[in-house]
């Protein structure tokens, strides 16, 4: 097995990973390992924008941003982490603006800001409706400029940890099929979310929760996985996202009776209530038979914006509707339904992005610091990638200062190689079949509305699927660019993520943010102002609870 040595390895080349790499590579030998070329990372799909309290449009400041974030999180976010996010994000945006990102501007040359769900002011900076694309390109340009080493199209499969200390990463070079051992003093996991656990998701095929699963297997604490954000407006069928910016710019939602139903669920914020609320409202309308033609969707009406504003502010939305739903949004309503969108939970870290394993840091969607709590506000996750990506990179630099290059975990590495080889030999369970079953069950039983028996059933089903997975085989025997193998490995990751979600959903007997239990429809601050922490120890998951850090704002009823 080839051994590759660097000071710091960053797994993932989305915004979080690239930001971390830019910081870490300033004074160390840093390399990124990513299963896709950096520019193909799912961050590029982010549309609507990034929150920062520049106050260009209104009288805003970091505290107001923090308040909205904490309230939006249904008070499950750790408020000291939220403070870091909201205080630092303006500088991060200034930085990326200086790197060359083309954010939309106001006539006087300052950054434009648009309203977004759950924000009390227009606070969302944007680049049309391709903000992630713009930012990802800009950071990638900086990677090129700074000559950062990227191992692109390398799939990491496991983290080597000994005595709760990180030692290395194993990865398969997809182009050759060969496995290599990456040895480094520290690793930053930035592998994104696990949207593909669900049948309906806005996420890329790549969003399979690899890092969360790898860290979990290695013994790290994973936090709040039951909090899964569903997005209200995705195209029927493909579940391609129609950005919240569509509502921010003035679009509204209508049911089969042509009624703007959000008026009765969130009388003042209406369509711009936080996502969990809008999602449940849509789902309630559908369940009451007020979906369009009795079906599983409602209308998103953008016709009142006029085609000029549509083209100027939402060109991608316009094209997506045209190309993927055959709807001319300037003339007709877009049929939309809710779908999984964001993973609030993840690898538990402290405010310096350090996990419970020494030398293992995490940032971005795969991490849980936690700034999003029970419900992320639109525009806050791009913010998180920049702020905590940079912190992770800087912290890793500090950590490695006193570290020597670790030894090689030969035995563990060989065991991992054997596990991969086993996939080529195993039985006749089919990977796509298992994946489909998993996605269905999770959507049905661990989706927007949950209850005790559904959660129990989901957990049981996932465990059964895990057993069957050990019998799943890769039919394609060629090692070169074997996407069959890649999908089999990813399914293994998905199963862990699903188990963690189902387990959390079962445990949490209350409703908070995105987690809604019909059998416990109220928020319960007395018992549940806590994070759900699950760690894999001694061959099984161990659950603990950790109190939320409330430093700024006392929890209060969440009304919009």
């Amino acid at each position: 097995m080839e051994i590759i040595t660097h000071d710091i390895i960053i797994i993932g080349a989305g915004l979080a990973g690239q930001m971390a790499a830019l910081a870490a590579s300033q004074s160390s030998d840093t390399a990124i390992v990513s299963k896709v070329h950096p520019i193909r990372s799912h961050s590029g799909a982010a549309q609507g924008g990034i929150n920062a309290s520049f106050g260009n449009v209104s009288d805003d400041d970091w505290e107001k941003h923090a308040f909205d974030t904490a309230k939006g999180s249904d008070y499950l976010a750790d408020q000291d982490a939220v403070e870091i996010l909201c205080k630092n994000i303006t500088s991060r945006i200034v930085e990326i603006d200086h790197f060359g990102a083309i954010f939309d501007r106001m006539p006087d040359g300052r950054l434009a800001q648009r309203p977004f769900g759950g924000g009390s002011f227009p606070r969302t900076c944007y680049a049309g409706d391709a903000t992630g694309h713009e930012m990802l390109n800009t950071l990638y340009e900086q990677l090129i400029k700074n000559n950062v080493r990227v191992y692109e199209e390398w799939l990491t499969t496991s983290l080597m940890v000994e005595n709760n200390e990180y030692k290395g990463v194993l990865a398969i070079n997809l182009k050759t099929g060969e496995t290599a051992y990456f040895r480094s003093k520290a690793v930053i996991v930035a592998t994104g979310g696990c949207g593909r656990v669900f049948e309906r998701t806005t996420n890329s095929h790549q969003s399979t929760g690899d890092g969360i699963s790898m860290a979990y297997r290695a013994g790290a604490q994973v936090c709040d996985m039951e909090f899964v954000q569903f997005h209200p407006t995705t195209l029927v069928g493909t579940n391609i996202l129609i950005s919240e910016a569509a509502r921010g710019e003035g679009g509204f939602l209508m049911n089969s009776e042509n009624k703007r139903f959000m008026e009765s669920y969130a009388p003042s914020a209406k369509e711009l209530a936080p996502r969990d609320i809008v999602v449940r409202s849509i789902q309630t309308e559908i369940e009451k038979g007020r979906g369009i033609s009795g079906g599983e969707f409602v209308w998103l009406d953008l016709t009142s914006l006029g085609s000029e504003k549509l083209m100027e502010k939402l060109p991608q939305v316009y094209k997506l509707a045209k190309d993927f739903a055959n709807v001319d949004a300037a003339q007709d309503c877009i049929p939309v339904q809710s779908a999984q969108h964001y993973t609030m939970g993840g690898i538990r870290t402290n405010n310096n992005c350090e996990s419970s394993i020494k030398g293992l840091l995490a940032c971005g969607e795969c991490a849980c610091v936690s700034v999003h709590g029970a419900n992320r506000l639109g525009g806050n996750s791009l913010a998180e990638t920049l702020v905590f990506g940079k912190i992770a990179g800087e912290r890793a630099l500090e950590y490695i200062r006193k570290k020597g290059t670790p030894g090689i975990q030969r035995e563990a590495a060989e065991k991992e190689e054997e596990r991969i080889n086993h996939l080529f030999r195993s039985g006749d369970e089919s990977v796509p079949e298992l994946r489909k079953e998993l996605q269905n069950i999770m959507w049905e039983r661990a989706g927007i509305f949950r209850n005790e028996s559904d959660s129990r059933e989901a957990l049981k089903a996932v465990k059964t699927l895990k057993k069957r997975y050990s019998n799943a085989g890769v039919k394609d025997s060629c090692r070169i660019f074997n996407t069959d193998l890649m999908q089999a490995i990813e399914l293994g990751f998905l199963l862990d993520n699903a188990e963690l979600i189902a387990q959390g959903a079962l445990l949490r007997r209350e409703s908070r943010g995105s987690h809604f239990r019909t059998d416990f429809p109220q928020r319960d601050d007395k018992n549940w102002l806590t994070h759900t922490i699950i760690a894999f120890k001694d061959g099984k998951p161990q659950v603990t609870f950790e109190p939320v850090r409330i430093t700024l704002f006392k929890p209060e009823a969440r009304k919009y």
Binding site: R40, L320, I480
Partner: protein, 524 residues
């Protein structure tokens, strides 16, 4: 149930000596995309098929392949119910890693050549505030930022087929993205673009047809960069200056050697009895007027056979296309003024249809002149047509008793005809009205003759290689004749055929001018 056949390029370098195609049958459903179909195959028929995918929403650029030989995104290509068969290949100009997965390294490398990042003279310290930039100053860069680096344009680029030192379209788009950013301090970008092949592109627009993000690569980036290069006196290239001087001296890009057609024919031609079906102003363009008088005669003959009276003004001047194509937009005024004032004069007399016989003139009149005319405040009281378009769409074409010609050929679709928004099928249909003609089609019709964009003047060998390649593509399809309707294309092909003959190489290949052929069919 409707079924679709997918014919897919397969190659496993660990086993296969060479690639082969495999056919899979996939059930059709509403809004089925090519990526859906590939996933269907992978999940249900053959799990070994390899392709890249990601966002499935046309933003990550992973899934670029060639469908019917043209680069595009699999996730953005919907399969219509009437489709029976689709051929899917990996992108061109890259090494195949496996099946539909290619190594995009050459594309990324070219991109890296141009310093694809904002370059600042770091004199301005990072402040706590964003830079103040007026939205209008970022407008151009903003328009160019949509590129998702999918590599489709690079796959389909004509020039790259014969010259791999060319940086390719996306790198030029990226160059302008930075060159037009007021924050960028790299003054060398335009010179570098010229260096990396800005003028090697015949502006055939093939890249633009491939681009899934609908980036205006040709006019919005390549020709714009040329314009800026001219402003900075980095261009035109010395050879272009000669060409330009010839136009300024003689009013056309080819010198007057024989009597021009406008002098061979009267100003007004109506050689039939009775009322004309229509009256048109015929603008020949310098090549036909000065070199291809036979074609002029043929067009006039076609019009006479269709009872169309022709006005052939002698005083018109060059369409200015060569200036436009190499970036000398600022020299266009006299051409617009002179030609349009003549056209407007005729329009005042009721002759409002201006018909051009050269596709280069046509697309210049159609695309560039209206904007320029607006700037110069010149009215446009007439409409522009191509001769073929006029035959096809404006009149009841007389096809009675057309003489049979037994011929098997391929139609060469000129890029300027395409740029004018005229469908290939118009010309294919017209050609097929002549009895006895059998046309062979190539799936991708955008192959270039090498004659456009000033390439012939500045890089004659490159232009020749393009022309030869076009001929070879036809030969590979088993035909020995190209029919076309652009005098630039005809000249390009004739030139390389002539050179080959001179060197004693027997090409056994013919170029036929569409109008001559059609006119011939009338002569019974």
């Amino acid at each position: 149930m409707t079924e679709i056949k997918l014919i897919i390029f397969r190659y496993d370098p660990s086993k296969d000596e060479k690639p082969h195609y495999e056919t899979y049958t996939v059930p059709w459903r509403q809004r089925l995309t090519v990526l859906d179909a590939l996933n269907y195959i992978k999940e249900n028929i053959d799990s070994s098929i390899s392709f890249r995918q990601g966002c499935r929403s046309a933003i990550c650029g992973s899934c670029a392949v060639r469908i019917e030989k043209r680069g595009c995104l699999a996730c953005k290509t919907t399969i219509g119910e009437e489709t029976r068969e689709i051929t899917i290949d990996p992108l061109n100009h890259y090494k195949v890693i496996r099946d539909l997965v290619v190594d995009l390294e050459p594309f990324y490398e070219r991109m890296k050549q141009i310093q694809p990042y904002l370059v600042r003279n770091n004199t301005i310290a990072m402040t706590t505030k964003e830079m103040l930039i007026k939205p209008e100053d970022l407008a151009e860069a903003k328009n160019l930022r949509d590129c998702i680096l999918c590599g489709s344009c690079f796959s389909d680029c004509n020039t790259l087929d014969v010259d791999n030192t060319f940086c390719g379209p996306a790198a030029l788009v990226k160059t302008l993205r930075f060159a037009s950013d007021p924050r960028d301090n790299n003054e060398g970008r335009l010179a570098q673009a010229v260096e990396l092949g800005l003028y090697k592109c015949p502006v055939d627009q093939e890249c633009e047809f491939a681009c899934p993000k609908e980036i205006n690569i040709r006019r919005g980036a390549i020709e714009r960069l040329r314009y800026l290069a001219v402003q900075k006196e980095l261009a035109p290239l010395p050879e272009h200056k000669k060409l330009i001087n010839s136009v300024l001296d003689s009013g056309g890009i080819v010198p007057v050697k024989a009597k021009p057609a406008t002098e061979m024919f009267p100003e007004y031609i109506k050689e039939f009895d009775g009322e004309p079906q229509a009256e048109v102003l015929l603008y020949l363009g310098c090549i036909i007027n000065r070199r291809k008088q036979n074609v002029a005669a043929a067009i006039i003959n076609i019009f006479q056979n269709n009872r169309i009276a022709v006005h052939l003004p002698g005083k018109v001047t060059c369409c200015g296309s060569p200036f436009m194509r190499i970036g000398q937009r600022d020299s266009m005024r006299p051409f617009v003024e002179k030609n349009f004032s003549i056209f407007n004069d005729y329009a005042a007399r009721g002759i409002t249809d201006v018909v051009t016989s050269c596709s280069g003139c046509n697309s210049t009149f159609r695309h560039d002149f209206p904007k320029l005319a607006k700037e110069f405040d010149i009215p446009m009281n007439f409409r522009i047509f191509d001769v073929g378009e006029y035959m096809y769409e404006k009149i009841a074409l007389n096809v009675k008793g057309l003489k049979k010609t037994n011929i098997r050929a391929m139609y060469h679709y000129p890029c300027h005809i395409r740029a004018s928004g005229l469908a290939e099928d118009i010309y294919i249909d017209l050609i097929q009205r002549i009895p006895g003609v059998e046309l062979v089609k190539v799936p991708k019709s955008g192959y270039c003759c090498g004659g456009g964009g000033g390439v012939r003047a500045a890089f004659p060998e490159l232009a020749d290689r393009l022309a030869v390649r076009r001929i070879e593509i036809a030969k590979e399809s088993g035909v020995d004749t190209l029919i076309t309707n652009c005098p630039f294309c005809v000249l390009s092909f004739e030139r390389v055929l002539g050179m080959k003959e001179e060197r004693g190489e027997k090409m056994g290949f013919r170029i036929i001018d569409f109008y001559e052929m059609f006119s011939e069919a009338y002569s019974i």
